[in-house]
């Protein structure tokens, strides 16, 4: 192999995981650059909160570093990342539903930064808020499956392995989640908002 080709060789996740186990922060940085998109998107879609998604992404990679010794470098890393991201996102949503949300609402009200303010409304376009609300209204177990399937393009089998549930359960949750989303977003009646249909590049 020529020197140039050697320099351009992409280091595999497996090699990086081994370096990570040896304590390499550089390996952590490369894995972060490579996989942060999937972690952030997954956390964002499940939580519906960009700030929380950024914090969860940080947490996932910090755990990857901290618990590197428990990761099998011979196995693909992505399923581990998806599993950790969904678990942490589920916990975040559960906590918020339980008691952080009322406290945050009170804090927002006291600070005058309630999310119904014109500034917040302007920041978040109505159409996209509709999508976020539709996803957030799904039961958590359905939401996880829908996000992994539609946002991350994973197969039913892959989702089954990541969430450790039978493929039949994945299909069932996907069916109900999909129906609820389509109904909430007007896809069943053909009322789809044109601004949401642009081609993503």
């Amino acid at each position: 192999m020529s020197k140039g080709a050697e320099e351009k060789r992409v280091i595999s996740d497996s090699e990086l995981a081994l370096s990570l186990q040896a304590g390499s922060l550089e390996a952590l940085g490369v894995l972060y650059d490579r996989h942060r998109g999937l972690v952030f998107r997954t956390a964002l879609a499940i939580t519906g909160d960009a700030e929380a998604a950024a914090d969860l992404m940080h947490d996932v990679f910090l755990r990857l570093h901290r618990f590197a010794a428990h990761i099998d470098p011979q196995r693909p890393l992505e399923p581990w990342l998806y599993r950790m991201t969904t678990n942490l996102s589920y916990t975040w949503v559960k906590r918020r539903q339980r008691w952080f949300r009322p406290l945050e609402d009170v804090a927002d009200w006291l600070a005058g930064t309630h999310k119904d303010t014109p500034a917040y409304q302007a920041e978040m376009d109505d159409s996209w808020r509709q999508v976020q609300q539709a996803v957030s209204s799904l039961p958590l177990s359905h939401r996880g499956v829908v996000v992994l399937y539609y946002v991350n393009d994973l197969s039913l089998q892959e989702i089954s392995e990541i969430l450790d549930i039978p493929v039949g359960t994945v299909k069932s949750r996907l069916h109900y989640g999909r129906q609820a989303l389509k109904q909430n977003l007007g896809l069943l009646a053909g009322e789809i908002l044109p601004e949401l249909q642009y081609e993503f590049t």
């Binding site: 998107r41 901290r66 599993r83 589920y90 559960k94």
Partner: protein, 86 residues
């Protein structure tokens, strides 16, 4: 094969999540934190002696399933063990 409304749903969800990006400072923050956190071995007895699950305020008597979910989920995550709650 995916039908038209399925394809639209996929596109719409992807467009939605791709509108937002993590902050630029997140990489530096991660590496700084990683450099300052010990990756020493996990002592499993800590799970029982110092559980990480927060004491949720229980609004109902029969709230045991929520407490159980929280305990398993938070402790397993805290100690890097994979747990799956269906």
């Amino acid at each position: 094969m995916e039908n038209k409304s399925d394809a639209l749903l996929r596109k719409m969800l992807k467009n939605w999540v791709n509108r937002q990006h993590p902050p630029d400072s997140s990489r530096g923050r991660l590496l700084w934190d990683a450099a300052h956190i010990s990756s020493s071995k996990i002592d499993l007895t800590l799970i029982f002696l110092h559980p990480q699950a927060k004491p949720y305020s229980s609004s109902a008597e029969n709230d045991w399933h929520q407490k159980f979910f929280s305990w398993i989920n938070e402790n397993s995550i805290q100690f890097g063990i994979q747990a799956h709650i269906i």
